[in-house]
Symmetry: C2
Subunit: 422 residues, 2 copies
């Protein structure tokens, strides 16, 4: 198989399919999504059979239990995948939306119309449900998709792809609207990320290693979701109960997610009152605390593991029941710490001070900045975007949770009545 | 001089200055702009003196008259530069604007706040006024700027830079908010476009060669302005007078600009009525016509130069009194021609048909799509953006004329009252 030729063909077909899709009516796009949902449910036995092949191979290749769990499909997960498609079908269509249509002094009327980006390449690991989710988000936003899943999920992904293709054909759209790369050859990724003629943007979904590898080599723009080193700062003007609730929730609600808090900053003035009762709650969840000298002193006697933080801790995304804690003099020191160590994902302040809330919102430069709310809210569903393809820690094009709108662009539209430039 | 070290220092200083600028109040930013405008006027004799050094060197190096004209400063041009700064001072500040602030079912309130990108690198050729324009647009949008002008304008640019630095210092902002690269060494550009740690986006302003060289090598995102192969399509339902006015204006209002029409498409059904009177007007301006076989036939007897178009003509940005003309069967053939040959800048249809106007707007994928208006309107001032740093032919981040808003990003802001994720 000539990988370069194969990928070029996929690219050309995607470009053509994107043209058709860009002028497909909303009702037809929704019909495809609902049809694919039905086909997934109908294909449950086949999907589980194909998934078993991947699970077998994974066990033989020594994948760990966590990875095998992410790879596994069962009736509930297939039902959830179908529900996801139905939900995307129910969202408003972003394509064609016109905003800011205004007359200018010359007499022409100018506005912006939302349009698809064109062709989106998605590169992801293990979870086969991404195949359906990503395809649906691209389709609804009018973009053709080229999907490249992990080699460990190849049979599952192909089985899901069959449902997608059948759904497209039954509703009368070109099957090349969604293409799943059939080879596990790594060179296919190398081609995909260097075909700006055929691919408009790459969305990598996976670990930091995958994303750095792709952004380092891509000539196509990449919507990056790097790591989430999220901070909660408990201000000297914080309400104690809110502070404890938010800091507890942000760390322990789920550990392995990018919007979990990894570092807690506490103002010196309230550290002695707030840290001990908060630590009592962390102790019940066996959270390991890695502390600055001052918090180490205050938390002496903690029921769980308590160790001194190293410089490296401030820079680490644990994704585990581990928390680094630092006592800071005031809000300025907190903002400076965040400026130095944050990954630009999500930071929260707990405060009752009007001035401090405004300062934090203005000066913290992350994709989400929160006042008196848990960092765990940083999520496309919670933000009302309906669904998300990832969370962008970039500042260019789209930032924060990326929903349908993040997968579109805008063009200017101009209405005249024979107007010429004077 | 160690270029790498020099550029790293500029980058670090810009990053620090950007932090200060991001929280500078609107009134102070405006005060700097007005101060720089005054200093430019006061420095007129010095600016002209320094500019003369560049003009002398340019003549000795054999620059052609057009380039020397673009390089030249005089009292009027310095006055225009100062006026440009005053106009940017009068525009609304995009930074801090909050939009879409809404409550979600969880009870948290979510919106988007507009924020600066950070540090912007501008690379440009010959015209020294870009130094002041680009610095002002970056400053007003809260971004630190690193400017790299052409070596042929080095003395003029440094003299303008002195006014900018003095303005910043007099108003009490760090002088590193705007830095003009002092060396003409080409390696400085290579460094600038590969320092993603210190530079958030690159805006190249200049010819196609410059832009392709930079986008090919940059690891920092580039807001690209490539060429403008703009089309006007005269539909079979066009009003004859509007068609002639628009096609004449779009070609002859100015030749050397990216929004001038380069190819005229005419529906077969009206070609015989519209082309001859239109050609009579082109003849008065000595426009050279390069025609498809059918239009060649219709325009036989044209008073100016009339030749057969080659395939290459459809792909050429003339920037000159030359126009390619093609007769097409209908709107579908026109849209297909545009899809194949357009550079994605600006296209216009002339029609009285409701359906054709909607089809053209929906199906033509360019940064500006117009109905019954001259392509010459594609411009930041005409669109009400107040000023522009270029016209983006990209689809990622910003498209069409790039004003202050295009130099910003957004972050999500979240207000809670102790809310935690359930």
């Amino acid at each position: 198989m000539d990988i370069k030729q194969y990928m070029t063909e996929l690219g050309q077909q995607a470009r053509q399919a994107a043209r058709v899709l860009s002028r497909t009516e909303t009702s037809q796009k929704n019909a495809v999504l609902l049809k694919i949902a039905d086909l997934l449910i109908e294909s449950t036995p086949k999907l589980i059979r194909e998934n078993n092949k991947d699970l077998e191979a994974g066990k033989n290749n020594g994948l760990d239990d966590a990875l095998l769990d992410r790879l596994a499909l069962n009736e509930d997960r297939i039902e959830a995948m179908a529900d996801g498609l139905r939900q995307i079908a129910s969202l408003p269509d972003p394509v064609g939306e016109v905003s800011d249509l205004k007359y200018q002094p010359s007499g022409i009327q100018i506005g912006k119309m939302r349009v698809p980006l064109g062709v989106i390449g998605i590169i992801y690991e293990s979870r086969p449900n991404v195949t359906a989710d990503a395809a649906a988000l691209c389709l609804k936003s009018g973009n053709a998709a080229i999907l490249r899943g992990g080699s460990e999920a190849i049979h599952s992904n192909q089985a899901i792809a069959t449902c997608i293709i059948n759904g497209l054909e039954e509703v009368g759209l070109p099957k090349e609207v969604v293409q799943v790369i059939e080879t596990t050859d790594r060179d296919a990724v190398g081609e995909l990320i260097t075909m700006p003629k055929y691919v408009d943007v790459i969305v990598p979904r996976g670990g930091k290693g995958l994303i750095e590898r792709i952004s380092g080599n891509a000539s196509v723009p990449v919507i990056k979701h790097l790591n989430g080193i999220c901070h909660v700062y408990i201000d000297d003007q914080a309400d104690q109960q809110k502070a404890i609730d938010i800091a507890f929730n942000a760390k322990t609600h789920r550990y392995g997610v990018c919007n979990a808090m990894e570092t807690l900053l506490v103002a010196e003035q309230v550290a002695e009152q707030i840290l001990p009762p908060l630590a009592e709650q962390y102790g019940q969840k066996q959270v390991e605390l890695r502390c600055c000298p001052r918090s180490l002193e205050i938390l002496n006697g903690y029921s769980g593991t308590l160790i001194a933080a190293s410089e490296e801790d401030w820079d680490t995304e644990y994704l585990a029941p581990i928390l680094s804690i630092r006592v800071v003099a005031n809000i300025d020191e907190a903002i400076a710490h965040i400026g130095e160590f944050s990954s630009g994902h999500t930071e929260a302040i707990v405060t009752e001070s009007y001035s401090h809330s405004r300062q934090f919102i203005a000066e913290v430069d992350s994709s989400s900045v929160m006042v008196n709310a848990s960092t765990r809210f940083a999520d496309g569903f919670e933000y009302g975007l309906g669904a998300e393809i990832g969370i962008s820690t970039d500042k260019i094009h789209v930032r924060g949770p990326v929903g349908l709108e993040g997968l579109t662009s805008q063009k200017f539209i101009v209405f005249g009545d024979g107007h010429i430039r004077q």
